[in-house]
Subunit: 732 residues, 2 copies
């Protein structure tokens, strides 16, 4: 790259070669959309500079090596931190969850299971009971059994649940309002190129980690999977500040965040490949192949860190936590919404009061799902497996495989499961939207798994008692094991989660990695496809897209197709009734006139044209850049007055002898603005915006400038076409 | 969509509303590049028409349902056919391969293994020998042992190998020249939007299937994985002709082909998820999320069909076949190249002569890889496992796990493996490029696996004899099993294949699906990453990209970054020394003048401008469309003479009273051509071409037309910048 060639450099349209870059030009305001093309150009320019410099000295060469490796370093760090935090959260939540029921006398910091590990006195069936672990009734009243202790335990359970919930909501409210919810809709929006400062900051990370533990332990119907994705993205964002390549470039930073979200799902479910596909399918916007590879690496690192921490003591299943649920629009208008703390306490109280008496709602949701997925083997002591054996009617626990008539335990379990199903559905609807970290994955899966298991047991009993029915006759003879209720639960869980989030491949791969059986991939696929089709019949949006729309974020979904026949000229501004387009001419405005135009309008940028007569387009200048440049010039350059001429051309215009020094603004002029003709179908325009990540596009007719289309214009137009309120789109 | 609104319809720029579409307009010539934007617009227009019509009658509604489901139908059919064909190829190749060594007396159509299944006389260790199976020496000379039979068997082996190879090359040469090679480079090119008629046709499919069996059975150092991808794509292409949605739209057809290539890899390796990732990472160009989901479905269907055919009788491993290998540019200049049949015979003869005496080269390559991957367990009878047991020095077969000193069998195996390695490397280099169906995956994996196993055994013996060395001291004590030579082989295979193809995530997932161990994913990743980095140090191209470049296909790689600082005005034509740009004015050309312009130039299209003076751009017209439209008009419309005025405007220009009837060509005018300014950095232009799939783009300066950039211009420019011959890019 010779010096003479510098004039031809790709950034001439951004920064003039001969001038110092003006500080602040090229950055973004909060709640604004980034320009992907410009960011990518900036990165390539940086890369070229480093490549040129690296031959100069050993130090520069080392710096260039560091720069080249920083991508791998940042995803490694992110993977390590995500795995470690996930392990920490798992262990803490487990411990706090058991605190609700009792305490370990030997060592306060042991949870129930760890407390009883050392105990040799217990049999396998009663492995939960050991003298070291005292329920609250046992500790306070000195007795473990009886109605008094039951009430005491019930009371302590509610007390702890409320304390945890209160602490969580207060921490969120006071320190980090962004820590509430699952965070996935906002992360999708950020990845699509939107700026929300502080959403992925260190305070959010800290508070989200702490309150996530509290919220899970409080027993609310929520999960930690979605929030773990947010936690991992916070790690990615924080580590990206160590590397100038990523901290100073919004587009490159989003590559790290894509990898981080893969790591988040990887630790949430122990599913590294599923995590990568989730990042690709669900959250990411710009996903080059390099990011695929780095996401995979981050997901693996995170999964292996989590496995070596081994929070569940079995090094295999990292199954099932909780997230929020479907008809959440209900919650936008509750009167409680104004009092988030009261609301959390209220929901937590109801959850605790109702959940305690039913074993299926009292237990940890992930354990519930695991139990529902498990088939009845000879060692299974669960109530769900109390079948009457055919050989020996009195035997309580089932042996190997054939379908058997249900025993009393199964009937009790069925009733409890039905109640749990109703309870879970209602509570999840109300829990979603609370101002605490709340995920949706696990509650959805739990609801699906309960429904699936109920159906599975029902079909099993039908098949047993009516094996001569046409549907069963061929493949379901007496004494064979033709119905597997656990598989029904698994399929139900996948279907329910699929219906809520509309995930496809990533969901199948996550469930397949969770359960480890390639054989079940066909029923899983069938279930996910059916639930997606049924869901799409009611509306094509998944929960995250709905959330984004409700919050009014400017998110141009890459999945939904634009099927209307409008043309660019019908969407562009100005329309006939509007005031004319605010444009700048390239060399006959004064500083004062420019300031008037800026003050009288609120547009983010202005097209620059040759002259009002020809309307031929020269380039595009951003409002923010113009303001910064004028301020900078008046502070640093002498002789710049309000009457100074402003010019965007290479050479200053010829001026009368007594005129003040003119101001050259070519350095902030984007000389390669995107243009389309007024006859371009909007489907092409939408495609260009999506694929190139544009912020605005100019509209011409036969070479003359006609108007402008911004991302917000497109979103408003799409909202209008689907009869939604276009004023919902709030940000730029 | 009202009739009045039809004028605003998105296709006004393609087809005029009031006129009949001219037949032939909108199709492509062979060896030309498609325009993705136009194809996608056509599809959306079709979709809208069907949606409007479906309310008219029950028949139209049924048709719209059929149309909506045709995507799923076509991928299902493709998956079914790919799975079935793969099973057929596996079984036939196995049978033909065994024919080289002998024949089953009871049933000619049984291969060696099937022949001996029924035999009860043999022990487990000698399960390959049974009286029903006769070697050729046994059949012809009547004796199975002795030097005479060895030579007889050797001769028959060569005879059959040469016959198969000769038949294969003749069939390819006479009936379907496109059936040779692996086909993956061409499929990549086709998927990127290039037309090669007949490449995926029924003749190619038939001949490729038959000759693939012959080529594999001939014992040449090639594999069937890559060709299976070609076979699957042929199926996808043929089935897409059943559905107008896909047969008439080149962009939609490529969605089916992406899914088909996933199905191909899925059946080649039994790795459905790996297949989807391969399609995404390696071959596909335009891969929307809908295609991800359909690819996954096609891959699953294909894998399950193959599994139910169960060609290997174990329903688990569908391991390892063959593909071509790395320094193949050697082969472009051989004198043999002109005589493809002779060449194949020559290579086949050498392969057969050298391969027979060495057991590791005689055996089926996939079986070799399986043996190399396998660890030595107590039941393993392989020569590779003849360790001396420490407890009992004379015991030939190893028991469970600890590392042991090598026995004589292992030393023999080591020598044979070294010879096999050299032989495989040389033969694979020469086999790749033969005019028979030839894949590269399996030979590469075999080379890597042999090298890996050799290193593994060497390290194992080092660790055994020198366990006090610093590197072994900590973790490798006497009597423990610290070195697993099988794992070395697996890692070597992945690394070698990774170096050849530069695949990353998909390769790791394929090998992980093949071997089923998530534990080995970390060494696999490390190996693939290292080999990619080492390979990239020699040049960033994988084998398929090199092949595409050598063949001169116009392929704009989505992976490689454009890092130069050139601007659009340096790449566009005309440059200063060139003749001026051939343009059409919108309303003052006659038919004769238009024909002169078309005949004197060879451009694919012409910009249409308002007038020569203003140079303001109106639109773009394709050469092919103009020719067809003029011919059509002169045939069908009366009064069109050579002196007729041609106009592209909405209304006819005012003409003198005696002038002949003017010809309106607005219907073929693309009124939304893509434009960039002359100052646009080429990196942005390349990005636009890649992401939107453009064929050409016009260059303007301050609203005036300056020049044009085509995909070929970009490829030539990129070749120039990397000091390659720009005339290598041959097609448009």
């Amino acid at each position: 790259m010779s010096n003479g060639g510098g004039v031809l450099s790709s950034t001439t349209h951004l920064l003039d070669f001969l001038e110092e870059p003006i500080p602040g030009v090229g950055t973004y305001d909060d709640f604004h959309t980034i320009d992907w093309v410009r960011e990518k150009c900036k990165d390539r320019e940086r890369h070229r500079k480093i490549n040129t410099k690296k031959k100069e000295s050993a130090w520069e060469f080392t710096k260039s090596l560091y720069d080249a490796w920083s991508g791998w370093l940042v995803v490694t760090l992110t993977g390590l931190a995500s795995g470690a935090l996930a392990g920490l959260i798992d262990i803490s939540a487990d411990w706090l969850n058991d605190i609700k029921e009792g305490v370990c006398l030997n060592a306060m910091w042991f949870n129930h299971e760890q407390c009883c590990w050392g105990s040799n006195e217990t049999t396998f069936a009663e492995r939960d009971k050991c003298p070291q672990w005292k329920s609250w009734a046992g500790l306070i009243l000195g007795q473990e059994e009886g109605p008094g202790s039951y009430i005491m335990n019930y009371f302590m359970y509610i007390y702890w649940a409320l304390s945890f919930a209160l602490l969580a909501v207060l921490l969120v409210k006071v320190f980090a309002p962004y820590a509430c919810g699952s965070g996935i809709p906002e992360i999708k929006t950020i990845l699509s190129g939107f700026i929300i400062r502080g959403y992925l900051g260190k305070w959010t990370l800290l508070i989200k980690t702490v309150t996530l533990v509290l919220a899970v332990a409080s027993g609310l119907s929520l999960g930690k999977e979605g929030p773990l994705v947010h936690v991992a993205c916070c790690c990615g964002n924080i580590f990206s500040y160590l590397f100038p390549k990523y901290s100073k470039n919004e587009a490159k930073k989003r590559e790290v965040l894509s990898a981080a979200s893969a790591a988040g799902v990887s630790v949430a479910f122990g599913a590294p490949i599923g995590g990568v596909l989730f990042s690709l399918e669900e959250v990411s916007y710009y996903f080059p192949l390099k990011t695929l590879w780095r996401s995979f690496f981050a997901a693996l690192v995170a999964a292996f860190v989590l496995r070596s921490i081994n929070p569940f003591g079995n090094s295999r299943l990292v199954l099932f936590y909780v997230e929020y649920h479907t008809p959440w629009y209900l919650r936008k208008s509750t009167r409680f919404g104004k009092y988030p703390v009261l609301e959390v306490i209220f929901v937590a109280a109801i959850t605790a009061v109702v959940a305690f008496p039913n074993p299926y709602t009292r237990q940890n949701t992930s354990e519930l799902i695991k139990e529902l997925f498990t088939d009845c083997g000879p060692l299974e002591s669960s109530q769900l497996c109390q079948y009457r054996s055919q050989m020996n009617g009195s035997k309580a626990f089932g042996d190997a495989s054939p379908n058997k008539p249900a025993g009393p335990g199964v009937y009790t379990a069925m009733w409890q499961l039905c109640l749990a199903l109703v309870f879970k559905i209602i509570m999840t609807i109300f829990t979603f939207g609370l101002k605490v970290p709340a995920g949706l994955f696990i509650p959805s899966m739990a609801i699906g798994a309960i429904a699936g298991r109920i159906v599975g047991i029902a079909v099993e009993q039908l098949a047993y008692y009516h094996h001569d029915w046409l549907v069963f006759r061929e493949w379901c003879e007496v004494g064979t094991d033709c119905i597997t209720p656990g598989l029904y639960a698994m399929v139900g869980a996948a279907a329910c989660l699929g219906g809520v989030t509309r995930m496809t491949v990533s969901l199948v791969v996550i469930v397949f990695e969770l359960t480890g059986g390639l054989e079940y991939i066909v029923p899983l696929m069938a279930a996910v496809m059916t639930s997606k089709w049924v869901g799409d019949a009611f509306g094509r949006e998944g929960i995250y897209e709905s959330h984004i729309r409700l919050n009014g974020y400017p998110f141009l979904d890459a999945k939904s197709e634009f099927t209307h026949t409008t043309l660019a000229r019908e969407v562009m501004r100005p329309q006939r009734s509007d005031p004319p387009l605010a444009v700048l001419t390239q060399d006959d405005l004064t500083v004062e006139e420019l300031q008037v135009i800026i003050n009288e309008t609120s547009y983010n940028g202005f097209p620059v044209i040759v002259s009002k007569e020809s309307q031929r387009l020269v380039g595009f200048a951003l409002r923010r850049d113009i303001t910064i440049a004028i301020e900078n010039a008046r502070r640093k350059q002498e002789g710049i007055l309000l009457t100074s001429r402003v010019y965007f051309t290479q050479h200053a215009p010829t001026l009368p002898a007594d005129s003040p020094r003119p101001l050259k603004l070519r350095s902030i002029l984007d000389m390669s603005p995107f243009t389309v003709t007024d006859h371009t179908p909007m489907e092409i325009v939408v495609d260009i915006f999506r694929k190139l990540g544009l912020r605005q596009c100019l509209v011409t007719h036969n070479g003359r400038l006609l108007g402008i289309i911004t991302k917000k214009d497109i979103l408003r137009h799409m909202a209008q076409l689907t009869n939604q309120d276009p004023d919902n789109i709030m940000f730029n």
